[in-house]
Assembly symmetry: D2
Homo-oligomer: 341 residues x 4
């Protein structure tokens, strides 16, 4: 359900489906082999091809699900998964893979994000890209020297969505080996947003970096977020880390970008840079010790088809999550200044 | 302004002042020498020593400010500070150190957090502690083997708020040297929350880790956030990183805590663990190149009294920010289950 | 989409359908003859018959609609309808009777209200009833001397939902005559809520009477709202209008109820009484003068099947709107007092 | 605390004080004789005469209060006042006349409304006026044939704020007689808003008439709200009540205004018309029977200085409440259409 979308925007299922196709399972040998079409239908909020101002209801019916794969999870809590915490919170949970804890819920983020991205691109020229920067200990060499648009193209050239072909192949090899070991790996997705105007974000309680971090941490499996230099800039002193302003033919820019495009919680016009850490997929096909809802210690062997590494499919999710934050802040900024009313 | 505080809670200025005193400037040789009493007054919402259910208005008047220290910032943007982004956003800014971009705004977080902490402690037994884990490259040896309560005591034994005395001294030496170099350093604050009941946090869009990350990123100078293992667990596979459940005399616990006490966005009853990266203070006393609001490149030398390292004073801010998130989620959980109504 | 419903509530399509059937068209000779099944499907948020804590998505597909009935409204604004204001607001509108301006949107209110009502009844014993008190100048004699439960039964004995049979027949006659004149009439629905505990509602900006008024005014065609004595008590002085407290075997009650069960924005435990004015249906089958979207004055004759009087079908809508406000306030009250945590 | 005010608006204490002076007690012989200066101070959010985009904190310290007047209310509930409901809700209340139940809280509405009104006037030319239309059974003859601006002037010519001098005198006589009887009276305030652009308000859950009704019902003592014809148009049929559109030199207007300027929850450009019913002041100086917090029936004689009729002082409150709703909707409308971004 997408609320507060301006009326009169041209939007179709195709605009949304293209992003869902980047997220859906079964795209390649290194993601889950579950076949889920993930076809979106617009149920309301669009009339004769344009948004009406009413909430836009997007539905993706859950078709490829094998409930039988999940029956042994009715009473047993998968380690590092949400089973136990849901049970503790609600006293009741959908254990069949379609509930609120399922990563399938990111379909909603990606679908809504496709609309957000269209507005940002058409009205503000904002370009959003992300890529797999690290899988376990395999890292892409940085800096990339690619624009956001170039990254968008490069990541679609291989199944792991790493823009450097050589690193991509190492990552694919690692993921395939991990899958054959019935294990899983995590890694880092980097986000780049170009052409963001200065001024987005609120200064104190809804800082742009805060809202982006919330959006990223709301993605399942994310355990860390950095903006700009993040943890990696702590070896510098202030005089080394500060981003020095200069006048670039009338445009105020900074010589470095340790701030990651955000200062005082507000965008400064430089590229927004974030790194997002995804833990290794909790669901592994090996037998693991755990407890059941009677508190008994039991052995669990999960069935079904799971991603040995969620990173390649996380790329469109990260972009969508960022687009949703940015479009809200961009719209809010329209009424932030009295001289602009 | 603290809203939605339950009525009938006993609260006094003293309860709040004790936390403000941990945050205020001028506490020691390694923080700013500005003298700010930061005395809190309760203006409304408390009657005969108890909250009334109305919003609680807390005021800390700004007394120690030297506006003259700031006059040279009227037209000039300090590097890596919020000056330029505020000007870009609002077309107008308070350059005198009392505006919304000032870290003085964290007084509000600390004051409100003191109330939140009292509720959490009295009603749920939740203990919140944090400490300086790293200053530039000086790190405390981990794990600490201290409870949250012990950490609270230990950090008050030295001016840098590091619970390990030997490391603390190294950090103090480093900060003093940095100050004499007219430079600044950053570091990491670790957060530990014990006795959180399982079930806090929403599963999808207001995940507990998401809300905590938002709260931390809303603190000035924070550029990175980790929950549990964060970026540091990426070298592990899923079978190594998963936290195995076991039955600890009737209590479901996990053998490791890479999840940092949060799974699927919901607390699991294990200690909540976070690491928060603070960049080096942007305001350094060295001359730096920058631009002014006419776009001209100028040299800037900042006057006044600034922290060479914000970490010691960040400890109560981090705790307060966490308390505010937790008390909201703890209250919300009271109505999450039909069988508890 | 119903959010924040506690987990573990038993709910089925049947619980909801029974209220939708009271609202749907085609129930009798005095409402529109459109046949709309209005069958509700629960798409998410319920698992094995119980709510999961996730948002509950209820869908009623629009089946009986004849779009051709509306083609002549593409460019023409019906008098006193939302056509012109939608066009002015959004520059674009769904003119086919399925848009956000259609009274069909009250299906959502009624469906969600059925869930709210179930919680209020099961957990707090709160009884909600409403009835048609006036159609044009035909009024039910007051006071009724019926409990809320008795009203609920009585209104289902006739097609106009007036609990007094004699008045009901006069109202039916009037509506039938109006329909044969291709005209429409309005009237008043009265609301009675019994067994509300004292203490619901916020004192200042979300007063219970304020929220109920918002909920009622959000129903299409409502143009007036009274709480307790409303406009009708203005001929009294304060000493006459004041509701005197007395002790009714340990229960504090008032001798009169001009306050309508709400004092200072908060329920006082007496029955909540409201009167809601519905204007005559804007869509009449007579030819009317109006303008089109080119600003030309034109004659319009509306086709289709419309209610000559919305009052009978408004009864379940008013009850549902009240239930939604009350359940929110009842849940909020669970955390309003420190001594109850 | 005024949030989301655009940055760069010129605002001073004087802009706000002028409206507070219309609301404050002690203005004339027919209002309370309490002397309260009600002087506003801007504590934050304004720098060098302009708003900064930060929340604007306005403080009016409570100076003229005699707590001793209230001591006999510590345990006793005034009839038709909020004493009992507050006690029931919170278990604790401020009985000294300064709490959240006091009509003094409308100072905040009036102060914030002054800022809203300034924006509406400067940027949209919107004129807001209200007047006392009825005191008990003394009514102003309608229609008035005065513009909103003329009403604003006319109501300041007499102490009761009725724009018709002859009716005003009858009202004053009635109020003075009521006061000498130690009793009170209520009445009706009418609201007129001119030059509202078409398109303000949301169609379904935040309808403009709904939000205005919420705002009015949130004012203490209000028990009824009408938009346009309200309850008074129920004797008409649809064909009589419908407002026929016509083209007034390129402007779409309606021949009548039973809709009160709002159709389908959205403004249509015609004047917004509302009537608001205020019950007789609950606090009368006669002895009344009531109960205390031990449940005992007792006699109560209230001391102090109270308004025998709140209507004259309600005029600026009604205007301010309307301005706050309208400015929010006017700002929201800036981002409602894609073609306007």
């Amino acid at each position: 359900m997408v609320e507060n979308c301006p009326a009169g925007l041209e939007i179709s299922e195709t605009d949304i489906q293209v992003e869902l196709d980047r997220r859906r399972p079964g795209q390649s040998s290194i993601t889950t082999s579950r076949k889920e079409g993930d076809e979106v239908e617009i149920i309301s909020g669009v009339f004769e091809g344009k948004t009406t101002g009413a909430p836009i209801c997007l539905v993706v019916f859950n078709k490829g699900q094998h409930s039988s794969d999940y029956e042994n999870l009715r009473h047993t809590f998968r380690p590092s998964h949400a089973d136990y915490t849901y049970q503790a919170k609600y006293g009741h949970r959908d254990f069949t893979g379609g509930g609120r804890a399922s990563a399938r819920n990111t379909i909603g983020t990606v679908a809504a994000g496709a609309i957000a991205r269209k507005i940002l691109k058409e009205k503000a020229g904002i370009d959003i890209a992300s890529y797999v920067a690290k899988v376990k200990d395999v890292e892409v060499p940085l800096p990339l020297d690619l624009s956001a648009l170039e990254i968008r193209t490069a990541v679609e050239q291989n199944s792991v969505r790493c823009p450097d072909p050589e690193t991509a192949q190492k990552m694919i090899d690692l993921i395939e080996k991990t899958a054959s070991d019935k294990d899983s790996v995590g890694g880092v997705v980097n986000l780049v947003v170009e052409n963001t105007p200065p001024g987005l974000g609120d200064p104190l309680y809804d800082r742009l970096d805060g809202l982006l971090s919330l959006a990223m941490m709301n993605i399942p499996a994310v355990k860390g977020v950095e903006v700009g230099g993040g943890f990696r800039m702590l070896d510098k002193t202030g005089s080394e880390a500060n981003d020095i302003f200069y006048n670039d033919n009338g445009l105020i820019r900074t010589k470095t970008n340790n701030s990651g495009g955000i200062q005082g919680g507000i965008s400064n016009g430089m590229p927004i840079l974030m790194s997002i850490a995804f833990k290794p997929t909790a669901t592994v096909l090996r037998e693991q010790s755990t407890v059941n809802d009677a508190g008994e210690e039991v052995m669990l062997k999960v069935k079904g088809r799971h991603d040995p590494c969620v990173l390649p499919r996380a790329v469109p999710i990260v972009e969508a999550a960022a687009a949703l934050v940015l479009v809200d802040q961009w719209l809010l900024q329209k009424t932030a200044r009295y001289d602009g009313l």
